[in-house]
Amino acid sequence: MLRIEGLSAWHGEAQVLRDVDLFVERGEVVTLCGRNGAGKTTLLRCVMGLHGNQTGAVHLDGDDITARKVHQRARRGLGWVPDDRGAYATLTVAEHLTLPPVVGPAPWSLEQVHEAFPALYTRRASPATKLSGGEQQMLALARVLRMGATVLLCDEPTEGLSPLLVQQVGEILRRAKALGVTVLLVEQNIHFATTVADRHYLLAEGRIVGHFDNTDIHSREADLLAHLGI
């Protein structure tokens, strides 16, 4: 489904990703864990085509999309959920949901979105930046589901959210997964990660240093937490 081969990336002179290989099967939820500065966000940005200075290859559904531009990758089904939530001050909530084109075979209808995210219905006429952090996160997720994106690239969707909202994000991701959506998730919260994801990659200093499934993660928790610096 999504396969990354030999990916290296630089911020100016500094190398932030070193020869990363990973894959995510269709309908799988896979997390990228690692400390701040490990290269997780850069890796997601490389997959989306938003990071300029990179080498290596990104394959989607067997096609090499490395040379594709950002909007072409989105049209192929990549859904971008950035860590800053990407909300626009001049657009209302409703306009956020009509802005992107439909790119996949199963876009969520507005009714589905409003049923899953009731707050987005009641606040549909508000400028998106007036929403709470949690609501903005829901909007960012709703936007890519509305597009019918088949692969979600989510950068720390639970960051700064209350435990209740973290649960809600988890429910949405599980629901998307049940509908066959693939998710590559950057996540610092290991316990949350185990509730939504099938597998986990551990990234340190730009390299993949570990690969766990949910059964491993409990037996190797000490090892993992040491890597994460917790």
């Binding site: 989306m48 938003l50 909007h71 049209r75 001050a89 001049t90 306009e95 802005l99």
Partner: protein, 295 residues
């Protein structure tokens, strides 16, 4: 009192010209990050196009509907030139700022030279329909009608632009793109397609400024576009790069300040405008509204 009314309406007329120039500059800079020094060329093309059409285009003339047709011709010329400039010269140079500045500065110089070669360096007498030269009495002041023409045109353009940005799909893309372009592309939208349109809209507004500015000044010259462009840039910076409404506020502030200061101390108006720019940059570097297309 009548002097204040006359100065105010003349200042607003000038503000209308500045706004017509600045609105396109603001959108082009806000969306595409292009500092377009060739924007004055679009204005000159509008002015010369209208001037040429009033004497040569069948049906067009120097008064009545003939003049309206001449202005439409001038605006179409400015729009086409702006779209071609974007497609041919700017498009290969996105995200290469230095090259863009060189190309647009070079183009503005070449445009002046081309106009000089075609129609000479001396000012040309511009067609002024009779109505624009008549006076209307407002609160005791006798105000030339061309002021109302300028103000009316700018208000219509402002309302039209805001409606376009608010109610159309491409307007939605432009508003989002002005705020955060890379996020728009990450949503699967090829935002560059909107660039040509924004250039064309900006070119049309600038060409209208050229066509109506000729009526206000009574003559046009090849360098006329560049001098108005300077005030256009000042208005864009004061208004907030990328904001149409900010450009409108800033144009009114600059036009009124310039008129009133020039009345009390002739020649000081331009200096005060630059001082206003410096104060805004010191106190509020993001401009009146910040980088937001419609607020």
């Amino acid at each position: 009192m009548s002097t204040v009314v006359l100065l105010t309406l003349t200042g607003l007329g000038l503000a209308a010209l500045y706004f017509l120039v600045a609105s396109g500059l603001a959108l082009v800079f806000g969306l595409a990050d292009v500092l377009n020094f060739a924007h004055g060329l679009f204005l000159s093309v509008g002015a010369y196009g209208t001037w040429w059409a009033s004497g040569n285009l069948p049906g067009a003339g120097a008064s009545g509907w003939g003049f309206v047709l001449a202005v439409i011709f001038g605006v179409v010329c400015g729009t086409v030139v702006a779209a071609l400039v974007e497609l041919v010269l700017i498009r290969p140079l996105y995200s290469r700022t230095i090259e863009q500045v060189l190309v647009t500065v070079g183009l503005s110089l070449a445009g002046v030279a081309l106009l000089q070669a075609s129609w000479g360096a001396d000012p040309r007498t511009y067609p002024r329909p009779q109505w624009t030269q008549e006076l209307t009495e407002v609160a005791g002041a006798r105000v030339p009608n061309d002021r109302f023409l300028l103000i009316g045109a700018a208000v219509i353009v402002l309302a039209g632009l805001l409606a376009f940005l608010k109610f159309t799909r491409i307007g939605l893309v432009i508003r989002a793109g002005v705020e955060d372009r890379s996020m728009v592309t990450a949503l699967g939208i090829d935002v560059r397609r909107a660039f040509t349109l924004v250039f064309a809209i900006g070119g049309a507004a600038a060409a209208l400024a050229g066509a109506l500015g000729g009526v206000y000044a009574g003559s046009i010259s090849p360098t006329g576009g560049s001098s108005l462009l300077i005030f256009g840039f000042i208005v864009v910076v004061i208004g907030g790069m990328g904001s149409v409404v900010g450009a409108a506020y800033a144009a009114v502030a600059v036009g009124l300040l310039q008129q009133f200061v020039n009345y009390t101390s002739p020649g000081l108006g331009d200096i005060c405008v630059v001082a206003l720019l410096a104060i805004v940059l010191l106190i509020r570097p993001q401009g009146i509204t910040g980088k937001v297309a419609t607020s």
